[in-house]
Amino acid sequence: MTTLAHPRGAKPSRLSVGRIGLYAFLILSALFFLLPLYTMLVTSLKSMDEIRQGHVFALPDTLDFSAWKTAWSGACMGTQCLGVRIGFWNSVKITVPAVVISVSIGAINGYALSLWRPKGSNLLFGLLMAGGLIPYQIFLYPLVRLLADLSLYNSVAGVVLVHVIFGLPLVTLLFRNYFVAIPEELCKAARVDGAGFWRIFLEIMLPMSVPMVMVASIFQFTGIWNDFLIGLVFAGRDNLPMTVQLNNIVNTTMGERTYNMNMAATILTAVVPLAIYFFSGRWFLRGVAAGAVKG
């Protein structure tokens, strides 16, 4: 078996068996990963008659974009026929603040838990990890009562708060892992200089952790944007995110299902996270290289 060059070495100039095998594996894997997306796209461009024929992987006979238009601006949920468009801004209003706040708190938590470790840190971290393993449904009732008592029910602030609380385990885990790898001398030196908790955080740690901020933000963005249950229960009636709209289009129980429109609506709902993944891939990798990697 030929010894292949290390990734940082010279690029292999000829195709060896191993190399071909490698590409074959990658391409096959890529096909596996792309298959569902392909099916969704193809279905969204077919007419319902074609879809009823049941040939899931077949290319559409004719390219029919009407489903896309309907999904964006004409799909009906109840008597309103405005498409997923109306949920878009609600999703933005909910996701952006939730991501900013939860990542900030996560960074502070990670920093405090790893570099300062006040009393009870291990307990708190353990609680958070345990809490992260509990399914959401259990929290619904008590949280609804709590938010109602705080008059936060049926408001964007309420939904954001719930998302922040549920995001705590994940972001704390990420940042704690990140900061644990930072050499202690850095922190010690700063303290000798007289800097306190917040100054060290804002002037040294935070700037250093930009890659991790990107990673955590991307994770949180995806999770919150795609969330359905929390938006359904806590946003009340006026602030429903796009995913609830999507559910209304896709999950009717006893009505007809227009699959082509459902697929189009799903892709539209996923466009924002997909775009973020697309454009931030580089940051993601850099951030992960810097931090989440370490145990």
Binding site: T3, H6, P7, R8, L22, L26, S29, A30, F33, P36, T39, M40, G54, H55, V56, I108, A112, W116, R117, P118, K119, L124, G126, L127, M129, A130, L133, I134, P135, Q137, I138, F139, L140, P142, L146, I165, L168, L173, V180, E184, G196, F197, W198, T222, L229, L246, V250, N262, T266, A270, Y277, G281, R282, F284, L285, R286, V288, V293, K294, G295
Partner: protein
């Protein structure tokens, strides 16, 4: 050596909101849930205590028992599958291939999609009369069979496919970054010794990625318990109970079946099992981190 004496007040203060959330929300909810599991609550909480009756009902319920078994199978295979596939994909991409960035995006995009509809797609693709089996047969292989999704014993594995499809990319990115962080010298040394590439990955690189993969495993595990959308969209818990999971059991009983008491009992059992399974693991990790910290 950390100044153990000087406990910064600021640090404790900074953690206060999280403490409040942890105690009020996590602990508070669990206590409330546990209390309810001892009552006969239907839609609304009641104060009529019935001892362990709900738990008895729970464990006589074959749907619940199946759900526990399923989440275990799914969890192990899903986390294992994501870690394995993610690692292998990362190793492949680490070999300086063309279009690495494109491949990376292809492997990562599933994580951006919600399961509400991707679950349905998987159902179509795996359905013997609509999807892969039908297509392969149409291409000529008449005897090809791939009907796991309608088979009670095999259906749970189809859910694993969809899960790994979504989660492997995550592990891949984490592993890839780790691999890029491994020093040049190690490679050179291994190659001088004439070790084949695949063994380098397995015996040298993989162990070093241990902590990273463990962290990924933790992230993935958090997703396993919460698995709900995937099941509802892909199989609806069927055929029969064969793909039922605890989160779905709890959700169904909470609202549709108006049985708060039973749902709470299920939730309590679930959380207890998870804590019992994970606690020793976390404890060990914490000890290790503590020891590592002391050696700085």
């Amino acid at each position: 050596m950390r100044a153990k004496r000087r406990r910064s007040l600021a640090a404790t203060f900074a953690l206060l909101p999280t403490w409040i959330a942890a105690i009020l929300v996590y602990i508070g909810t669990m206590i409330w849930s546990v209390r309810l599991s001892f009552t006969d609550s239907t839609i609304f909480p009641s104060s009529n205590y019935v001892g362990f009756a709900q738990y008895a009902r729970l464990f006589k319920n074959s749907r619940w028992l199946a759900s526990l078994e399923n989440v275990l199978i799914f969890g192990v295979l899903y986390v294992g599958g994501c870690l394995a596939l993610g690692f292998v994909l990362a190793a492949a991409l680490d070999r300086k291939v063309r279009f690495e960035s494109m491949f990376r995006t292809i492997f990562l995009y599933p994580y951006a999609m919600s399961f509400v509809v991707t679950g349905l797609i998987w159902q179509w693709m795996l359905n013997p009369t609509l999807g892969i089996q039908a297509t392969v047969r149409a291409l000529g292989w008449q005897g090809f069979v791939f009907d796991w999704i309608v088979n009670r014993d095999m259906a749970i594995y189809t859910v694993v496919f969809a899960g790994v499809w979504q989660g492997a990319g995550l592990v891949m990115v984490i592993a890839l970054a780790g691999m890029r962080g491994i020093g040049e010298e190690q490679w050179k040394a291994a190659q001088i010794d004439g070790i084949p590439v695949w063994r380098i990955y397995l015996s040298i690189i993989l162990p070093q990625l241990g902590p990273a993969l463990a962290a990924s495993g933790m992230l993935l595990s958090m997703g396993v318990i919460k698995t709900y959308d995937l099941i509802v969209a892909q199989t609806g818990g069927g055929p029969g109970y064969s793909t039922e999971v605890p989160a779905k059991f709890i959700m169904d009983n909470l609202f549709e079946r108006q049985n708060l008491g039973l749902a709470s009992a299920g939730a309590t059992v679930l959380v207890l099992s998870v804590v019992m399974a994970v606690a020793p693991f976390r404890y060990a990790l914490a000890m290790r981190a503590g020891r590592m910290g002391a050696h700085r």
